[in-house]
C-alpha cells in the first residue's frame, strides 16, 4: 500500500524524472526507504563518483539496499536501474536483503587456512545451522565469508558486527557468539537490527 503511494509521488513530479523535483518529492515519500534514500541523495549526489558513497550510506541506514531505493538512486544520479543493480550485485559488501541481527564474517583466505580456518568455518556452519551467505533460523546471525581481515599474523580471524577477533578457536567462537547475544539482550530497549554487516 505504502509502496504504491510512493510511486505515485514520483510520477506526480511532472515529468521531472531525475531532476531536483523528483528528489524533493521522494524525500516526502510515505515509504520510509524512499524518503531515507532521497535524503541521502540530496546530501551526496553532487560528489564526484557518488554511487558507492550513496550505497554505503543507504545500507548503513536501512540495513540493506532495498529494491525501492534502486529506482530513487537511479533517477537522482541519472543512471538506469540496471546500472545501479549491476553495481550493487558486483560488490559482495552490498546486500539487497537485510542481514540478521548480527553478522559473523569468517576469514577463508590462505593465512587463516594455514591455521585451521576451514575446521573453524565448519564449526560456525554447524553452530548456526546455516551455510555461508545465509542466516541462522533464529534470525540472530548472518554468516558471511571474508577474504582477509588483515589479521594474518594472528590467524584465524573473524569479525562480528565490525569488531575483529583473532586467534579464534571453535571454543572461543562459541564464547564470542554467546557474548554478542548477551550484550544485545542487555540493550533490549534500543535493540534494532544491525545496519552494517
Amino acid at each position: 500500500m505504502h509502496q504504491r503511494e510512493a510511486k505515485s509521488d514520483l510520477a506526480s513530479s511532472g515529468g521531472a524524472r531525475g531532476g531536483p523535483l523528483a528528489l524533493d518529492a521522494a524525500q516526502a515519500s510515505a515509504t520510509p526507504a524512499i524518503a531515507t534514500t532521497a535524503r541521502i541523495l540530496a546530501r551526496l549526489k553532487d560528489l564526484p563518483g557518488p554511487l558507492l558513497p550513496v550505497l554505503h550510506e543507504v545500507q548503513h541506514e536501512l540495513g540493506c539496499i532495498p529494491a525501492e531505493a534502486v529506482q530513487t538512486i537511479a533517477e537522482a544520479l541519472n543512471l538506469s536501474r540496471a546500472e545501479v543493480h549491476g553495481v550493487i550485485t558486483f560488490y559482495p559488501h552490498f546486500r539487497s536483503q537485510p542481514a540478521a541481527r548480527h553478522t559473523l564474517e569468517v576469514c577463508r583466505a590462505e593465512s587463516c587456512q594455514a591455521m585451521g580456518s576451514e575446521p573453524l568455518a565448519a564449526h560456525a556452519r554447524a553452530r548456526l545451522g546455516c551455510d555461508f551467505h545465509a542466516s541462522s533460523a533464529d534470525g540472530n546471525f548472518t554468516l558471511e565469508p571474508v577474504y582477509c581481515l588483515g589479521l594474518c599474523a594472528q590467524s584465524p580471524a573473524v569479525m562480528i558486527d565490525g569488531q575483529p577477533h583473532a586467534r579464534v578457536t571453535p571454543d572461543k567462537l562459541d564464547r564470542l557468539l554467546a557474548r554478542t547475544l548477551d550484550r544485545a539482550s542487555e540493550h533490549t530497549l534500543d535493540r534494532t537490527p544491525e545496519t552494517t554487516p
Binding site: 563518483g49 558507492l52 590462505e110 594455514a114 581481515l149 594474518c152 594472528q154 565490525g162
Partner: protein, 538 residues
C-alpha cells in the same frame, strides 16, 4: 602531585582483536582503585603481533614492554609492581617488573624490533596516531617542508633517484609514474592512494594507516605538489573499518590546522583529500578497476593504454600508488634520495615492510632492506612454525604469488631474483604452511579464489579459473587413475599458459603462479610422479 605514569595500549585492530580495549579499561580501573595516576595513550601497533596486546610503560630507561596482556593479567601486573616507583627522579618513572613472566624488557631492545630497519614504519607504534604534536616531534613534516621549497621537477628527480618502486606489488618506479603525470597537461589531476589491501598475508597498509596516518597524508601532499594535483582520494577496503575511522579523524585534524586545504602550511598551494570506502571486491586493488569503483561503477578492469597517468580518474591524469609507496615519500624527501637508495640490493632499493603470517610462531611486521632471505624471515624473525611441525611451503606475495619450497628459501628477496624463479615479492606478505598442508588443495583454492573475484571482463580469467578448478579436481580426485592424471596435467599447464598470456590484468595473469608452483614443487600432493612434473617444469 607528580605527573601521571604514561602507559601505551595499542588501538590497532590487531590489538583490539585480542581485547586491547578491555585491557586499557582494566588498567585505568585498577589504577584508580589503587590511587596510581596513569595516562593511557592508545598508540599504533609495533608490529610484534604475536605479543598483542603489547602494553608499554614509560620508565626512566625507556619504554618497557609487557605482552601479550589479557584483561585478567592486569591485576597481576600491578601486584608485580609494574607501576611502583623506581630509581628515577619522580614517581612518573616506575621500575621494571622484570620478574613478571609477561615482562619483555625495553621495547627497543627486543631482538625482533632491534634488528629491523624501520624507515617507512619509524613512527608506527611509537606515537599516538592522531596527535599532530607527536607526529611533528618525531620527524614528521620534514619531507614536506623541504618539498615546499623545491621545484616540482626537483621533487620528481629526487623520487627517481631514490629508486623507490611501487610497493603494491607491481614494482614500477614511482618517480617515473609521477613524471608522466607531471608531463601531461590538464586542468585537474588526482592523487589516488590504493589502500585496497586484499592479499591474504598482508597487513602493512593497515598497520600504517592505523598507526601513522599523517605520514600518508604528507606523502600524498608531496605527490600533489610534484605533479600539480590538488585533490586526492584514499580508497580503503570496507574490511578495514578502524583504518577508515583513523584516516577520517586524521584528515579532519590535518585540515583544521592547515596541513590540508586551500593553503597547505601557508604555502599558498592547495591540496585536500578524502577517504572512499571499497565494498568487498578484491579486484578493486587492481589500479584501473579501483578507478572505475571510485567513479561509481562496477570494478571492471580497464584496458591499458591509456595509462592512468595520462587518463585516469574521471579521465584526468592520475598518480595511483600503494599506501606504502606514498608513505615512504616523506622520508625520502626528508633524508635525501641517496639515503634511501643506499638500502637494498641490485635494482631493489630501500626497505620493504615484510609481513610474516600464517603458521609462524612470531608473526608480525619486519621492515628490512631488500636482500635478506626468506629463511632469515621465517626462522630468525618468525621463530619457525606455530604448530611446532616442520615448515613445508611459503606463499610469497599474496594469493597470486608462488608457493616456495624449502630449496628456494635462500634466494635473496630482490624483485629481479624472484622473477627468475617464477615468483614475486609483491606487497611483501608471506604465508607459511607446515607439513600438514595439501598443496593440491591450495592450488585448487587459488583457481577458486580467482573465479570468485574475477571481474568478468576477460575470458581467460572468467572462464579459465572455473575450468582450472575442475581440472585440478580431476587430477587430485581420490579415484583418479594414472592415465587420467597424465591427460589432465598438460591440460592444466596449457590453461595456465592461456591465463598468463591472455588475461587483461594480474588476477587472471598471475593466479597460475600458485597453481604451477604447487604442481612443480609438490607433485606428490597431486598424486603424480615428480619426474613427470620436473620434465615439464624444466
Amino acid at each position: 602531585m607528580s605527573a601521571p605514569i604514561v602507559i601505551y595500549v595499542p588501538r590497532d585492530a590487531a590489538a583490539l582483536a585480542m581485547d586491547a580495549d578491555a585491557v586499557a579499561h582494566e588498567i585505568e580501573r585498577i589504577a584508580d582503585e589503587r590511587g596510581v595516576a596513569v595516562q593511557v595513550v592508545r598508540n599504533g601497533s609495533r608490529g610484534l603481533l604475536w605479543l598483542e596486546p603489547l602494553v608499554e610503560v614509560v620508565t626512566h630507561d625507556g619504554r618497557v614492554a609487557y605482552g601479550p596482556v589479557a584483561p585478567e593479567d592486569v591485576a597481576d601486573l600491578f601486584d608485580a609492581g609494574w607501576l611502583s616507583p623506581g630509581n628515577g627522579d619522580s614517581k612518573a618513572t616506575p621500575k621494571t617488573a622484570s620478574s613478571h613472566p609477561l615482562c619483555l624488557g625495553l621495547t627497543e631492545a627486543i631482538p625482533y624490533l632491534k634488528h629491523q630497519e624501520r624507515l617507512t614504519f619509524a613512527r608506527v607504534g611509537v606515537i599516538d596516531p592522531l596527535s599532530l604534536q607527536d607526529y611533528a616531534a618525531h620527524g614528521g613534516l620534514a619531507g614536506l617542508k623541504r618539498a615546499l621549497a623545491m621545484e616540482p621537477a626537483a621533487i620528481i628527480d629526487e623520487m627517481v633517484t631514490s629508486g623507490l618502486r611501487g610497493r603494491g606489488g607491481a614494482a614500477f618506479p614511482t618517480g617515473i609514474k609521477w613524471k608522466t603525470v607531471a608531463g601531461t597537461p590538464s586542468d585537474q589531476k588526482y592523487i589516488v592512494c590504493n589502500a585496497d589491501e586484499g592479499d591474504s598475508g598482508t597487513f602493512a597498509d593497515r598497520l600504517l594507516m592505523e598507526g601513522d596516518p599523517y605520514v600518508l597524508i604528507e606523502g600524498m601532499t608531496i605527490a600533489g605538489l610534484a605533479v600539480g594535483a590538488s585533490y586526492g582520494y584514499i580508497y580503503v577496503r570496507s574490511e578495514y573499518p578502524h583504518a577508515i575511522a583513523t584516516l577520517e579523524a586524521a584528515i579532519a585534524r590535518a585540515r583544521s590546522v592547515g596541513w590540508l586545504g586551500a593553503d597547505v602550511h601557508g604555502s599558498g598551494r592547495r591540496f585536500d583529500l578524502e577517504v572512499r570506502k571499497g565494498a568487498g571486491a578484491y579486484i578493486c586493488g587492481e589500479e584501473t578497476s579501483l578507478l572505475e569503483s571510485l567513479e561509481g561503477k562496477r570494478g571492471v578492469v580497464r584496458a591499458k593504454p591509456p595509462l592512468p597517468a595520462i587518463s585516469g580518474l574521471f579521465g584526468k591524469p592520475t598518480v595511483i600508488n600503494n599506501v606504502i609507496s606514498l608513505a615512504t615519500v616523506p622520508i625520502i624527501l626528508a633524508k635525501g634520495a641517496n639515503y634511501y637508495r643506499d638500502y637494498g640490493v641490485g635494482r631493489s632499493h630501500g626497505t620493504l615492510p615484510f609481513q610474516l603470517a600464517g603458521n609462524l610462531k612470531q608473526g608480525g611486521l619486519v621492515e628490512k632492506a631488500f636482500g635478506l632471505s626468506l629463511r632469515d624471515l621465517l626462522y630468525e624473525f618468525g621463530g619457525g612454525s606455530a604448530s611446532g611441525r616442520p615448515l613445508r611451503a611459503v606463499q610469497v606475495g599474496g594469493p597470486l604469488g608462488a608457493y616456495l619450497p624449502e630449496s628456494q628459501w635462500d634466494v635473496p628477496l630482490d624483485y629481479e631474483a624472484y622473477i627468475q624463479i617464477s615468483a614475486m615479492i609483491g606487497h611483501g606478505g608471506l604465508v607459511a604452511f607446515d607439513d600438514t598442508v595439501d598443496m593440491a588443495r591450495m592450488a585448487r583454492y587459488a583457481m577458486e579464489f580467482c573465479a570468485i573475484e574475477s571481474c568478468g571482463k576477460c575470458t581467460p580469467c572468467r572462464i579459465g579459473s572455473t575450468r582450472g578448478v575442475e581440472t585440478i579436481d580431476k587430477i587430485a580426485a581420490p579415484g583418479a587413475d594414472a592415465r587420467q592424471r597424465e591427460q589432465q596435467v598438460p591440460l592444466l599447464r596449457d590453461l595456465c599458459d592461456t591465463m598468463m598470456g591472455g588475461s587483461l590484468c594480474a588476477l587472471g595473469g598471475m593466479a597460475p603462479y600458485p597453481v604451477l608452483s604447487a604442481l612443480n614443487h609438490f607433485p606428490q600432493d597431486f598424486g603424480i610422479e615428480s619426474s613427470q612434473s620436473a620434465a615439464h617444469a624444466a
